[in-house]
């Protein structure tokens, strides 16, 4: 039905590549934010970032200040989200805890993306036995469920926030590497790579200057899709007492302490866990929006 389709768009054709790219980006963004659920996800993540930055201003109490006269207070005017077993204000601890959540997501993402890119691009560009070995390695990591492998790494490295970040990174890179490899394989066979090669560029230069930049957008998107899983794994480690150590107000660890007071004071576990759910949901909503916008079949 070709003649029935009228391509709508701004009148004049783009004059430069940059202009065309800007236009494509604008179209992408407008489609992306047209879904209410995606916007909701963006808002929640926005609030999370805002909270993390302005935590000292938003908190009503110090996250560590104990008040043994007022332990296990239910949510109310004095303590919006109640108080914990040491009388600490849960609301303030949640506010400060947002920093740890963001820190983990950020650190894991910036660790995983380069590892995945490196392994994937080298594997895809080099081919042959390098490819076989690297992809076999990736498969082995992929053949473990995320949490179990992270647990094993923490067992070897010791508990703690830094080690938890490291352990999660070590388990989260394989899907990125697979994606980068697949992208590299398509890029490698393209004409402009052949042209650069004819000009005498070294393989290293080709990978770094030409292959990696082309893989980057899809890698960034894949990392974004992964953020909810990162949050949940980190919270799981925290809950098992293998992540951030008390008295750090990390949400998973807070939920774990709350377990001991579950029946009498549900809010100790309920509220931090709810916060994890909310943030992980937000990242999933964003991921969903990205997937829908990028999926050519959707339109």
């Amino acid at each position: 039905m070709t003649e029935a389709i009228i391509i709508e768009g701004p009148g004049a054709p783009p004059e430069t590549a940059g202009q065309a790219r800007m236009r494509a980006l604008r179209g992408f963004v407008s489609r992306f934010v047209s879904k209410p659920l995606t916007v909701l996800g963006l808002i929640i993540v926005g609030v999370l970032i805002f909270t993390a930055i302005f935590a000292p201003l938003l908190a009503t109490h110090s996250p560590f200040a104990q008040d043994l006269a007022n332990t296990l207070q239910p949510p109310g005017a004095a303590h919006w989200f109640g108080s914990d077993e040491y009388g600490r204000d849960i609301y303030s601890r949640i506010v400060y805890g947002s920093r740890y959540t963001l820190l983990i997501v950020f650190m894991v993402s910036v660790t995983v993306a380069p590892i995945g890119l490196l392994v994937g691009c080298v594997s895809g560009y080099a081919g042959g036995w390098v490819d076989t070995v690297l992809m076999r390695l990736t498969d082995i990591f992929l053949s473990f469920p995320g949490l179990a492998l992270a647990l094993a790494f923490v067992a070897a490295l010791g508990a703690g926030l830094e080690n938890a970040i490291l352990a999660i990174s070590l388990t989260a890179w394989p899907p990125i590497a697979r994606l980068a490899r697949a992208e590299t394989l398509t890029i490698r066979s393209s004409d402009y790579i052949a042209a650069v090669r004819l000009l005498g560029a070294s393989p290293l230069r080709i990978v770094v200057r030409h292959v990696v930049p082309m893989c980057l957008p899809s890698v960034i998107i894949r990392v974004t899709l992964n953020m909810a899983a990162i949050i949940l794994t980190a919270a799981g480690l925290g809950f098992l007492g293998l992540g951030a150590q008390p008295p750090v107000p990390e949400w998973g660890a807070m939920t774990s302490t709350g377990r001991n007071y579950l029946i009498d004071a549900w809010w100790l576990a309920g509220i931090p866990g709810g916060a994890i759910l909310l943030v992980s949901l937000a990242f999933n909503l964003i991921g969903d929006g990205l997937r829908d916008t990028l999926d050519p079949r959707a339109s």
């Binding site: 082995i140 469920p145 899907p175 809950f239 759910l277 990242f283």
Partner: protein, 352 residues
């Protein structure tokens, strides 16, 4: 629990099937993966820790034991010799002794594993029985109200921390409503009432004809299994939806409608028949994810299974026990991959 995205999994399995198109290659690839698993656990257990002996014995060790383990591991010898010893031990079924129980790790694992298997299997059953119909309903009503509702339900399943759901489930359904039993596999007075046969209490109690025990066990199982199954249910529902959507656009669906098939016949007899094999693959994969989630849910429900054992070992820094568990999970995953590959071959007429 992390799940790979749909296209990735499907692609991976398609590639798996193509790559391993004959038995020898498949065997080679499985052996290579298993070998990789051994290398990985060796690195985690013997290379990463500052002192592997302390990692095995814990902080308060006895010097004589230290010396013995030091020599057993071959730590006075080069790394490849140590690796050789490690492999030899594992191939002979020796995973070392667990400090927390004082028994061989392999025995411990065999003892606790049935509890996890029972939990994971019931979870999977719930996930499939709920997830598949939800996915089909969502696909058939694409972009209409049922689809939106199911989308929210599945997104919550992906996003909720399983340990938190467990805790809140206990608060609501056990403490407040009293609908289900609390922690553990059985109430105290039913413990050790039925003889141990399979280790699966549901089965053992039926075999012994003890219906009271059976109902008690079921009462304990239903909440942790439902919560553990939720995330998998969400995953299965999503995959079912996207598989179904891909089929509903196919030309043979139009053929079926031209023939005069009812909407139900079009969905179940034509479209669904085409995704059964893909779904089997997904379900096999999900089972591995359930073992992963069991680590957390067993901690919450004091479920005496493999996950609780592993967490206990982690807390006490019992490296032999931890490595044994990791190895077991890895082997289960490789096995499930093989199984789904086999299912693909058996059930898809196109691979014959």
């Amino acid at each position: 629990m992390t799940f790979p995205s749909g296209t990735e999994t499907a692609g991976r399995y398609a590639a798996y099937g193509r790559r391993a198109n004959n038995g020898a290659r498949l065997l080679g690839s499985v052996l290579a993966t298993l070998f990789g698993l051994l290398v990985l656990t060796f690195v985690i257990g013997r290379v990463l820790p500052a002192d592997p002996v302390i990692a095995i014995l814990g902080d308060d060790y006895d010097p004589a034991a230290y010396q013995r383990v030091f020599l057993e591991l071959g730590l006075d010898q080069p790394l490849y010799v140590q690796f050789g010893i490690y492999i030899k031990n594992i191939l002979t079924g020796d995973l070392g002794n667990a400090v927390i129980t004082g028994r061989p790790v392999i025995q411990d694992i065999l003892r606790v594993f049935p509890a996890t298997m029972e939990l994971a299997t019931i979870s999977l059953l719930i996930a499939v029985l709920v997830g598949v119909p939800l996915g089909v309903i969502a696909a058939v009503n694409r972009d209409r109200l049922p689809d939106h509702i199911i989308r929210v339900v599945t997104l919550l399943g992906f996003s909720a921390p399983v340990f938190w759901l467990g805790l809140m489930g206990l608060v609501v359904f056990y403490a407040h409503l009293g609908w289900v039993a609390g922690s553990g596999r059985l109430s105290l007075f039913y413990l050790d009432l039925v003889p141990y046969r399979t280790g699966l209490i549901l089965l053992d109690s039926l075999l012994a004809g003890e219906m009271d025990v059976f109902w008690d066990a079921l009462n304990h199982l239903v909440l942790p299994a439902s919560i553990l199954g939720y995330a998998s249910m969400a995953y299965i529902a999503r995959m079912t939806r996207s598989f179904m959507l891909a089929q509903m656009n196919q030309e043979y669906i139009l053929t079926a409608r031209i023939k005069g098939c009812s909407p139900n016949a079009v969905i179940w007899k034509h479209a669904f028949k085409n995704i059964r094999v893909q779904l089997l693959t997904i379900v096999a994969l999900t089972y591995g994810g359930l073992v992963d989630g069991a680590v957390l849910i067993e901690t919450v429900f004091a479920w005496p299974g493999f996950g609780q054992y592993m967490v206990g070992a982690l807390t006490f820094g019992d490296m032999n026990a931890v490595l044994g568990c990791v190895l077991l999970i890895g082997i289960i995953f490789v096995g499930l991959n093989l199984l789904s590959d086999a299912l693909y071959r058996v059930f898809d007429p196109r691979t014959k």
